[in-house]
């Protein structure tokens, strides 16, 4: 029962990865692509938690912590560059 629910949740996450990538590849403005990159990073954190659950190894969650830190830094650097203030 619970495994079926996690399987459906994984399918929905893969679908949302593709839908966010559509905006990344189409986006007319650089700002739109940065937003899509941020959303793809957040979806990847969920995907890593799902992979750790499927593999049964708690050590994989450390990768997600590193992801959370660096998406924050990357988006702030891009915003400062666009604002001409880096």
């Amino acid at each position: 029962m619970a495994d079926t629910l996690f399987l459906i949740a994984g399918g929905i996450i893969i679908l949302s990865l593709f839908v966010a990538a559509i905006r990344f590849f189409l986006g007319p403005d650089p700002v739109d692509r940065v937003i899509a990159f941020d959303v793809l990073t957040i979806i990847s954190i969920s995907l890593i938690a799902l992979i750790a659950h499927e593999a049964g190894r708690g050590i994989y969650l450390d990768v997600a912590v590193v992801y959370g830190l660096l998406s924050f830094l990357g988006v702030i650097v891009v915003a400062k560059y666009l604002e001409r203030g880096l």
């Binding site: 890593i48 990768v63 590193v66």
Partner: protein, 82 residues
């Protein structure tokens, strides 16, 4: 079954982001696409049972090198490119 679907999705996204990074003329878009290549490759390393490589690739390939590229783009900011 789920892992095979995830691998196929990651493969498509990595190759599409690499082609966009090489092909576009806007330098900001090119640097962000190169960051997306590293991001998706580092999710793929988890399937190859290499969490240490995934952690380093996420920290350096997707975070630190993007910061260095934007620092350089700020230094060479001209009139013919963004």
């Amino acid at each position: 079954m789920l892992s095979v679907i995830i691998i196929i999705a990651l493969t498509i996204l990595v190759l599409a982001a690499a082609i966009l990074a090489v092909q576009t003329t806007n330098l900001v878009v090119a640097v962000i696409s190169a960051g997306l290549v590293s991001l998706m490759a580092s999710v793929g390393y988890l399937f190859l049972s290499a969490p240490d490589v995934a952690m380093t690739e996420a920290a350096i390939g997707s975070g630190l090198s993007t910061i260095i590229f934007f620092y350089v783009l700020n230094r060479v900011r001209g009139k013919d490119h963004g």
